[in-house]
Symmetry: C2
Subunit: 253 residues, 2 copies
DNA sequence: TAGTGGTCTAGACCACAGC
DNA sequence: CTGTGGTCTAGACCACTAA
């Protein structure tokens, strides 16, 4: 009895089709994001209600809800029961995994990077451990000095499994965003990052690179970036001038 | 025609009832959390699938999904399409708004607090602004030195609107968690917090209080805590010894 | 092939805010 | 009162993984 399936008349009118290849809720988000980015929607302005969005996008209420719920987690909108959904003050995108280039762009700064070191190494035990690899694995090590507004802003060291990114060292890593290269050329889907943040003092080498006094406080971030499938892709150890950076996050109870 | 409503026979069997006063998806979360906390479920162990949870808790699939989706955002579980949902490694609860007392407890440390200052003031312009109040509003100012493991760990200054918390200065703020007092005695439902994190150097006063050298790097966190209804409840400015703290967060792409 | 999570429907009732 | 977001149903089909 292969045709035991019922396929109710009511079921599945458009869902199988995803115009643009994107899920409906993400398409709705894209529209709202665009309206905010373009200034068409200002902070405090009301976003269309769940019911409006459902109607205009021809989706069910749950789908429209899903779109708004995610935007709220990002801090892009605020939802108030009985009142509506509103564009949030522009506190920068909370808890959003972005490349350094993207972060600077969000602050209307153009970031550049100077590559100080780019080789395959096999003696980086800690990095290997963070990537869940054996201690002496072949690892791409990439040291970059980050500039913005004509000043040195930060110093980052990236580690990636060499076997996963053949030829990466020949890519234009000096000019292009590493995120962009990974996503476009290596088809890596970045999913999330776990980060450890603390404060530390600039050692002589870093102080000189960042053009600040020795012992100056720095923000230190250790970041393990995972793919959407949960595989550790990259470990980044970064030191950020504290007079030029502050981390903005949102926590929920 | 007031009775135009249809009330389909199929609709609403149990939903109106919330045994325990809690939404179904939160009850499911509570059960899973309990099993993890008690060690009954270890990191890597599979969590019941959406369909299992739906069956055993007598809810629909969407509701079970909702429960698991939130637990994933907290970093408590990991979901893998086609495979299942698993208890995540115990990286501490990401992006979770917790009081200092709760955070230390999660690290199996007992925190205590010494109150250095507790008065109503009206000249804290910046704090007032963070709380969205007029510049010279009456504000409760509370300075506390945080101890754990017999050492000074951190220095925090809290600001709350005085009109919202009458009598707070008479509460046992030295012994009890401020979060607990607010939630229990003032019926405040804490919702989320926006935080700005950077690094700074210890000034003479803070260095002495924390028993560290001057100019030592500290983690500085400015935190605005909001109620579930989006009202700013408390502003906390904290300095944390960087050798005793690191912030753990998760970001999503 | 069976089982998982991901997306989606077409509604429902509730709690809440503002008029 | 209307309109909003919050919770929920009883399914559906899809994409994916593993046996």
């Amino acid at each position: 009895m292969p045709s035991g399936k019922k396929t109710l008349a009511v079921a599945q009118r458009f869902p199988a089709r995803m115009p643009g290849g994107l899920p409906a809720y993400q398409r709705i988000q894209r529209v709202i994001r665009k309206r905010i980015d373009s200034g068409q929607l200002q902070p405090g302005d009301p976003v269309p209600s769940e019911r409006d969005l459902a109607k205009t996008h021809h989706v069910s209420l749950m789908t429209a809800r899903h779109a708004l719920a995610f935007l709220e987690r990002e801090g892009l909108v605020e939802r108030r029961r009985g009142i509506g959904t509103f564009v949030a003050p522009p506190k920068i995108h909370f808890n959003k995994l972005m490349s350094y280039t993207e972060q600077m762009a969000a602050r209307t700064l153009t970031a550049s990077a100077k590559v100080l070191f780019a080789e395959i190494v096999d003696n980086e035990n800690e990095a290997a451990a963070r990537l869940s690899l054996p201690p002496t694995s072949a690892i791409i090590k990439l040291e970059r000095l980050r500039h913005a507004a004509g000043e040195p802003f930060a110093f980052e060291t990236c580690y990636l499994e060499a076997a996963e990114c053949p030829g990466l060292l020949d890519a234009p890593i000096a000019r292009e965003s590493l995120f962009g290269i990974l996503e476009r050329d290596y088809k890596v889907e970045l999913g999330y990052a776990d980060e450890e943040v603390d404060a530390t003092a600039a050692d002589p080498r870093i102080a000189e690179m960042l053009a600040i006094p020795r012992r100056e406080p720095l923000l230190r971030i250790r970041q393990v970036i995972y793919s959407t499938k949960g595989k550790a892709i990259m470990y980044v150890l970064g030191f950020y001038r504290s007079d030029r950076h502050n981390l903005v996050i949102r926590r929920f109870r």
